[in-house]
């Protein structure tokens, strides 16, 4: 038995300890974060799998209550794993931070917060830990080079968490209970309100349309480990909330016969679809590798939303699977970019090139990650996308299907861009002495890649687990046999695909090596129509990669203009109040007094 409370508290304590240690020895403190997150992950995984977690609360006062559920456990294990993996990068980046001690503290606090969210038994607990995650992770962001995204993140996260708070309080005012189960009691308009508010909370955290604006800013500009943690871990809180909102609340509404689902779910699916399309389109045109991955995170969040909104066994399994697969792949991709950033000090695709010759392992990790993100076998992303497609087709949602396919194919485009221009292409001379990732960084890279591969080849264990999870929501398990997953209209056998793929590659490799040996030539020795090119940069195609395609749609998403406008309006309002009410003229107050009294006397009030 191990108590959740103890996990949360000891993580917090470890954070404080790491803080104290890192005041003098930042690097040691960052090693502590590795140990602490390892401990959290292993405890959760070990006791969680053995159903041995204890939800009792003895030490934390007041209204904090925990409970164990497979649902929470699934998320907690994934997220703590991501935190653990990313923590390996901390020792290398810690020296770049202005406040290393604070980084270590907030890193572990954010971990504790996420664990708290996933095991919360009532909404107050959920909200408290949710907000803890918000503000601790918020302070991780400005440690990078840019300060502005912090505010953006705070605003969007807070919109989400306040929406949730309102929903929670509203539920409380009706049912008189903060329990998680209370929302399922609601009905009618109030249920719809709570549904919308919780969905907004999930959307905001997951970075779905129209709240995706924070993702590229935050993930693009914050320190690299933080970006990875956000993309793989903290963003998943949104999926957690969206799950609860969509599956636990059943507001009476119109049942759409054609797609076999309720209107509000359909609207969520449409929003997910918009997220996918917008995320994909924007990711295609990004020049910053991290921003590109950030938009891809938004787009993948859209998949998760679509899958949840369809709420059938197969789609929910798809959602759960996608959460895991995306967490692994996206973290790996972010970490790979982090290695490049660490070695070259830039993440601009147009400035980089030929990194594969310096860091082949990082390249392989990134390659595997994008294979998973693009949903290509034999990686984890394929299975989740397959499941989601099965569900989409089953529900015959054409518009959503168009969006999902668009996102799926579009993901080839954007994931390929860093691959082609950053890792491949000419070996630029300015990065001459760049070395492969340090040993400690390689560990998480390799583990994440293997994990992604493992769930892509042998999905049974994950699906077993997610069957237990969706059973908690009252959905039947997804059928499996020895080789395959039974979908709505077909069977998928990941091991067979993987082995056939392996066979194909082996056969071709044998043929390849039998054939005459090739002559090695340099990268600059390429066909240039007989022209002589001596400068590597001129032979490197990396800027404006998809220029012909990018011409077809506007550069800035419309919604960001709307947000800029809102900000400007608030400012204007502030200046208005300052002008009319806060002046140095003594008569202003008197004027207002007289006006109000006149109003009183004149009106029927007296």
């Amino acid at each position: 038995m191990f108590s959740i409370e103890l996990v949360v508290l000891s993580t917090l304590l470890a954070g404080v300890l790491a803080y104290i240690v890192s005041i003098k020895l930042p690097k040691l403190g960052s090693y502590l974060t590795i140990l602490a997150s390892l401990a959290v992950f292993s405890v959760l995984a070990y006791f969680g799998f053995n159903n041995n977690l204890d939800a009792e609360v003895n030490l934390i006062p007041q209204f904090v209550l925990f409970k164990t559920s497979m649902f929470g456990l699934y998320f907690a294990i994934i997220v703590s794993f991501i935190f653990f993996m990313v923590s390996f990068f901390n020792p290398y980046f810690i020296k770049d931070y202005k406040y290393p001690a604070a980084y270590n503290l907030f890193y572990l606090m954010a971990l504790a917060g996420t664990i708290g969210v996933f095991f919360a038994s009532n909404f107050i607990t959920l909200f408290i830990f949710f907000e803890i995650v918000v503000w601790t992770s918020m302070f991780l962001i400005p440690l990078g080079k840019k300060r502005k995204p912090t505010v953006t993140y705070f605003v969007f996260s807070t919109v989400g968490s306040f929406a949730m708070l309102y929903a929670v309080m509203f539920t409380f005012s009706i049912t008189g209970s903060f329990d998680l189960a209370a929302i399922s009691v609601l009905s009618g308009k109030s249920a719809l309100l709570v549904y919308i508010l919780l969905a907004v909370a999930g959307f905001a955290k997951l970075g779905a349309y129209p709240f995706y604006v924070w993702l590229p800013k935050v993930l693009g500009k914050s320190p690299d480990p933080v970006s990875a943690v956000f993309s793989g871990g903290i963003e998943k809180l949104g999926a957690f909330i969206a799950f609860m909102a969509i599956l636990r609340i059943s507001p009476a509404s119109i049942y759409l016969e054609a797609v076999g689902m309720y209107l509000q779910n359909y609207v969520i699916a449409i929003f997910g679809a918009i997220t996918i399309v917008v995320g994909t389109l924007q990711a295609i045109r990004q020049d910053d590798a991290k921003k590109l991955l950030a938009y891809s995170s938004a787009s993948n969040g859209g998949y998760i939303l679509v899958a949840i909104a369809m709420s059938s066994s197969i789609s929910l399994t798809g959602a759960m699977y996608h959460i895991l697969a995306h967490a692994l792949a996206s973290t790996a991709a972010f970490l790979a970019i982090a290695v490049v950033h660490y070695r070259t000090k830039t993440t601009k695709i147009s400035e980089l090139g030929g990194m594969i010759h310096h860091m082949p392992l990082t390249y392989m990790v990134y390659l595997m990650a994008i294979i998973s993100m693009a949903g290509i076998p034999p990686m984890g992303g394929f299975i989740s996308k397959w499941l989601i497609f099965q569900a989409v087709i089953n529900k015959q949602m054409i518009i959503v299907a168009v969006a999902t396919f668009f996102g799926s194919i579009g993901s080839f485009l954007y994931v390929f861009r860093p691959l082609a221009a950053l890792f491949l292409g000419q070996k630029l001379p300015k990065y001459k002495g760049v070395k492969e990732a340090p040993f400690l960084m390689m560990i998480p890279l390799i583990i994440l890649t293997l994990g992604s591969f493992y769930i892509g080849v042998i999905p049974n264990q994950v699906i077993d687990f997610s069957n237990k999870v969706i059973a908690e929501f009252g959905f039947g398990p997804l059928l499996m046999n020895e080789f395959g997953i039974q979908g709505a209209n077909g069977t998928l056998s990941a091991p067979i695909i993987a082995s056939v793929f392996g066979l194909g590659v082996v056969v071709i490799a044998i043929i390849f090596f039998i054939l005459p040996k090739s002559r090695k030539v340099g990268l600059m020795d390429t066909y240039t129509s007989g022209e002589f090119i001596y400068t590597e940069e001129l032979l490197h195609y990396s800027a404006d990669f998809y220029a012909p395609f990018e011409r077809l749609y506007p550069a800035k998403p419309l919604i960001s203009k709307v947000y800029a406008m809102i900000k400007e309006k608030v400012n204007e309002l502030g200046r208005f109040f300052k002008y009319w009410f806060f002046t140095n003229k003594p008569e202003v107050t008197v004027l207002w007094i007289v006006l109000i009294l006149t109003l009183l006397v004149w009106g029927d009030i007296l």
């Binding site: 505010v151 705070f154 605003v155 807070t158 309002l573 300052k578 009410f581 140095n584 107050t589």
Partner: protein, 461 residues
């Protein structure tokens, strides 16, 4: 112990201090120490001065005023201690102010309240005259005088209808005599406006900017922390035990809501740190009065406590910062905390508490506010509060990030150890209360009952 000592000692010392200027500061400190000691030793009850029972002036010590006295006196004491240098010239005034503040919290008589209001007001004008901005102070004086005049007018109207000035007797009398609500609207509105001027409610608060914009640590903490808290508590008592808002409640609610919104929005649009904080203070006081107007006493008191503590930290540090760096433009203050980490920590904790993030006291307060508002099914108001605190959070986060991270050259400022220790203790207090609030909530539990009991008991003296 008789609570009248709380008022009498400072007044006496004030006279003494005029005799000999040299002893002014020590006298102030002694008076403060005595008051702090007294606050923690007086017992609850109703004390009538001169034995006139309900005909004379009464001082009421119940849980409500006790909490108010403790908070105000302690913060007053610490403010004086941490700003010893600035105090020198103002010792007498501060003694008078102390008497006024204690009187406001203790008195149970409407006219007596007016007198103390004027005492506090005049001392406030004198305190702010130290800013070297005579026009702003004059502005404050005019508005304050008009405000208290209106309060007096309302009071007299009320007296002419009910025939009593005893706060505990007014409600019962209104019920007894069955005075129509429409007759009561004018006096209560006048009193509301009168107090509203001091409580920084929106259309009546154009003085705030001029006064606090250029205030140093002492002035700003006293005006925005101590006086604001006192006025808010007084206002709260009036709103919960005296006022019958009836038909004007809509106007009142609109005024309060607009105060809240305008404060936060104006702070959002501000570029100077003191402006940001003063507008934030306006919004906070709007929220506090709003809670009182809705009968939510416990959350309001919690908010007052959270507010005074965090305002103490914020204004003290800002004052010292501005003193040290000679600027209050946020842009030119960038990164100041990187050289003063402890101070920065306290400032950060205070701001996070004001925003209402968990692990800090402000969160508990916010949760309480919303829970109580929702138990009244006040959907619109709570939505407004959330929107407003989103704006608040935005500019505070922006401010914090700017103060911690610099782009260019970093200005430095010195803070003496005492200030550091006090602000740190307060910051830790915010954290401790944020994690473990039970003693406070327990002690607040009885406040509304006691307030109502006082009316019920003494309705039949």
């Amino acid at each position: 112990m008789n609570p009248v000592l709380l008022i009498a000692i400072p007044l006496l010392f004030a006279f003494l201090s005029i005799m000999n200027k040299k002893f002014a500061r020590p006298l102030l400190l002694v008076a403060l120490l005595l008051d702090v000691y007294l606050v923690f030793t007086i017992s609850k009850g109703l004390y009538s001065i001169g034995g006139f029972s309900q005909y004379g002036i009464n001082l009421l010590v119940d849980q409500y005023s006790l909490i108010g006295l403790m908070v105000v006196n302690v913060v007053f004491f610490l403010t004086v201690v941490t700003n010893c240098k600035e105090v020198k010239r103002l010792s007498t005034v501060l003694l008078v102010a102390l008497a006024g503040v204690n009187g406001l919290l203790l008195t149970n008589d409407l006219f007596n309240l007016f007198v103390f209001l004027e005492i506090v007001g005049i001392s406030a004008y004198l305190i702010t005259s130290g800013n070297k901005r005579p026009l702003a102070t004059f502005n404050y004086l005019v508005q304050g005088t008009v405000g208290s005049g209106l309060y007096l007018l309302g009071l007299i109207l009320l007296y002419s209808m009910t025939g009593t000035l005893n706060m505990a007797l007014i409600l019962p009398t209104i019920v007894d005599k069955a005075i129509p609500l429409s007759n009561l609207a004018l006096p209560f509105m006048l009193m509301f406006i009168g107090l509203g001027v001091e409580a920084k409610l929106l259309p009546f608060n154009s003085w705030v900017k001029g006064v606090l914009q250029n205030a140093n640590a002492l002035t700003s903490v006293l005006i925005a922390g101590v006086f604001a808290t006192t006025i808010a508590l007084t206002f709260g008592r009036l709103l919960s035990t005296v006022f019958v808002l009836g038909s004007i409640s809509n106007i009142v609610l609109v005024i309060l809501a607009v105060t809240m919104l305008a404060g936060e929005v104006a702070a959002f649009a501000s570029k100077r740190i003191r402006e940001v904080l003063l507008f934030s203070a306006i919004a906070q006081s709007g929220l506090i009065i709003l809670l009182f107007a809705n009968g939510l006493v416990i959350p309001a008191i919690m908010l007052i406590i959270a507010n005074i503590v965090s305002k103490y930290i914020l204004f003290t540090i800002t004052g010292k910062m501005v003193d040290g760096t000679k600027t209050d433009e946020i842009e030119s203050l960038q990164g100041v905390f990187s050289k003063n980490k402890l101070v920065g920590f306290a400032f950060t904790v205070a701001s996070l508490s004001v925003i209402g993030l968990p692990l800090f006291f402000g969160f508990i307060v916010k949760l309480n506010i919303l829970t109580s508002l929702f138990s009244q099914y006040q959907l619109f108001l709570s939505a407004l509060i959330l929107v407003v605190s989103l704006i608040e959070g935005t500019y505070f986060v922006k401010l914090l990030i700017k103060l911690w991270y610099s782009v260019g050259e970093v200005k430095t400022f010195k803070v003496d150890a005492l200030v550091k220790v006090v602000t740190l203790i307060f910051a830790l207090g915010l954290i401790v209360f944020g994690v473990y609030t039970k003693p406070l909530t327990d002690s607040l539990m009885t406040v509304p009952e006691e307030m109502m009991e006082a009316i019920a008991e003494r309705g039949n003296f």
